[in-house]
């Protein structure tokens, strides 16, 4: 029973990172109807750049974190300008956008390989001071708490921003209908660029937290979370922010529970992808997806 409780807590921690990653993923999909497959590459670069700032630059993690996040946001702007903006007028922008995002993912990943090498690296031991709290058989580290706190804070800020701020409302307007938004005087291209900035910044933040949590970073670490992120946003409903958060947590929990129940880690991903497949076939709009997203 204690092991189960511990597993649930761990699932919650990793789930919050999945959620943070997926929120950025789903934000772009909600606005543009485009699947940005370069999101995982930005996630990887975020982690590696933060590590470089700490390791070579000698910055404290509390300074390196926002710097790397800002850098990832700028990568998002680059992504939009190079890969998506030129295709926007094309009739098939969802399809060609998917392809050009794959191209950018390859280019980003090769940059990560070229700049940081292929080996697995980790943050220096003193990067964050870790306390361990124990309560009966349950142990929680301060790092875990910080990760959850940062993820939840960022997700909360994003939700508030989209609901309350003027620019946030403009993003939602563009997501609803970009032509109408343009008629209302909204600078649509600027809003889309800004959406990419936020999305990539969040993806980068998730990369840093992921690297800190698992204590390992490598140029191909985006591969596994790319597919999980997809599963999360489909489960939560494409384009839905609360859906992505809940989906992330559910996914983290399902992973640890599968391991706890079957006793091996072999089937961990199989359950997730079976769920993804079933959701797509039975309820393509996901748990919290809007009706208009239904494509079946």
């Amino acid at each position: 029973m204690e092991i189960l409780a511990q597993q649930l807590v761990n699932g919650l921690f990793i789930g919050s990172v999945y959620g943070l990653f997926a929120v950025g993923y789903t934000l772009v999909f909600g606005v543009l109807d485009i699947l940005n497959l370069a999101h995982a590459a930005v996630f990887t670069l975020g982690g590696l750049v933060a590590l470089w700032l700490v390791d070579t630059g000698g910055l404290s993690i509390w300074l390196a974190f926002p710097t790397a996040v800002l850098f990832c946001g700028l990568l998002g702007l680059l992504l939009d300008q190079v890969a998506f903006a030129p295709l926007r007028q094309r009739a098939d922008s969802n399809f060609s956008g998917l392809i050009s995002s794959i191209a950018m993912a390859i280019i980003f990943e090769s940059a990560a390989l070229g700049l940081f090498g292929a080996r697995t690296v980790r943050f220096p031991a003193h990067t964050v001071s870790v306390h361990i709290w124990r309560w009966q058989d349950l142990s929680i580290t301060s790092l875990q708490v910080e990760i959850v706190a940062i993820s939840l804070l960022l997700m909360f800020l994003l939700t508030q921003f989209l609901n309350k701020a003027r620019v946030g409302k403009a993003i939602r307007a563009v997501a609803e209908n970009d032509r109408t938004a343009r008629l209302l005087g909204i600078h649509v291209d600027g809003i889309i660029a800004f959406t990419f900035f936020i999305s990539s910044a969040l993806g980068g933040a998730a990369g840093i937290l992921f690297g800190l949590y698992f204590d390992s970073l490598s140029p191909d670490m985006g591969h596994s979370i790319e597919l999980k992120g997809l599963a999360v946003i489909v489960l939560g409903g494409m384009g839905s922010i609360p859906g992505a958060i809940l989906g992330g947590l559910a996914f983290g929990l399902s992973e640890v529970l599968t391991v706890a129940i079957t006793g091996t880690s072999n089937l961990r991903d199989a359950v997730a992808f079976t769920v993804l497949f079933t959701v797509l076939v039975l309820r393509p709009s996901g748990i919290l997806g809007k009706k208009k997203m239904r494509e079946a």
């Binding site: 094309r90 969802n94 399809f95 489909v234 199989a270």
Partner: protein, 296 residues
């Protein structure tokens, strides 16, 4: 003659891979021709490869019946998966086929008869270069013929506009499933060829990365004519050798060139590299991208 033998000794395995990748690219092309974006081809190749490999290795079944069995099984799975999944459109279909591919990969990892993560080892080495290219010639001829048949026109009309096609009385479900199953059969057959080319096959060789590669071959080559995917597969598979010939050996640069080619093609040649030749021939260009069934 001696020079030819030396050439074959050095590039023999590359030549085999060119043929295999061309066949796999064509298998995806069959599905794309009807406008269905699938990321499941690699998994079908895996099903065919493992089936054929297990049959010849463990049950002593002759080579050609084993290949046929692999192709048939892949086709059957394609039919079972295709019926529910092809109701989805665009990226949703891509994600569903992707999830299917991952489930297949994980299943192979966890079944005893397939050898798990170490792969199926000791498959008899039967496939010859002639066999591969004979298959490629037959597949190319059949696909070129198919394209100008009633089935081919139905595929094309579904790709251009599914609603209009169905209004014209075309049974879209039937033809979409047919394109999916035909693709699965060819992929399964090629998987069998591939399994008997190497001593060993592993689940990794049929994963997400390969599925994306097959899509890239199609896009770079162009999906307006059947030899487009072959051109893309040949060019990108031999790219590492070409780069080595001009003195570039670093892995990251090779990868970056790959990504750059894809990006430039999608931005400037939406109909793929084959459109260069067609433009020179003065043929009328259709600027609209193929395989663009999405609606907003």
């Amino acid at each position: 003659m001696e020079a030819l033998q030396q050439f074959l000794a050095v590039y023999g395995s590359l030549i085999n891979f060119l043929g295999i990748n061309s066949l796999l690219a064509l298998s995806l092309y069959l599905t794309l021709a009807a406008g269905q974006l699938s990321l499941g081809s690699a998994a079908f190749a895996g099903i065919g490869g493992y089936t054929a490999g297990v049959l010849t290795m463990k049950l002593g079944v002759p080579y050609l019946p084993a290949l046929a069995a692999g192709a048939v099984l892949a086709g059957l799975v394609g039919l079972i998966i295709g019926l529910p999944v092809l109701r989805l459109k665009g990226v949703f279909l891509a994600i569903a086929t992707l999830a299917f591919g991952e489930v297949v990969r994980i299943a192979v990892l966890n079944i005893d008869i397939t050898g798990g993560a170490e792969g199926l080892v000791g498959i008899p080495n039967i496939t010859t270069t002639w066999g591969i290219y004979l298959s490629l010639a037959i597949a190319g001829y059949a696909i070129a013929k198919l394209r100008r048949s009633r089935i081919g026109w139905c595929f094309e009309s579904i790709r251009e506009d599914e609603t209009a096609a169905s209004a014209m009385g075309i049974n879209t479900t039937y033809y979409k499933t047919l394109s999916f199953v035909l693709g699965a059969v060819l992929a399964g057959f090629t998987g069998g060829l591939y399994a008997h080319l190497n001593y060993i096959i592993t689940p990794r060789e049929f994963g997400f990365t390969v599925a994306v590669d097959l899509l890239i071959y199609n896009i770079v080559g162009g999906i307006r004519v059947w030899y487009g995917p072959v051109l893309g597969a040949v060019l990108l598979t031999s790219l590492p050798e070409i780069l080595r010939a001009i003195g570039i050996t670093a892995g990251p640069i090779r990868m970056a060139v790959n990504g750059l080619i894809l990006l430039l093609v999608i931005l400037f040649l939406p109909n793929g590299l084959v459109s260069i030749f067609q433009r020179r021939g003065g043929r009328k260009q259709n600027t609209r991208m193929d395989a663009a069934p999405e609606e907003a």
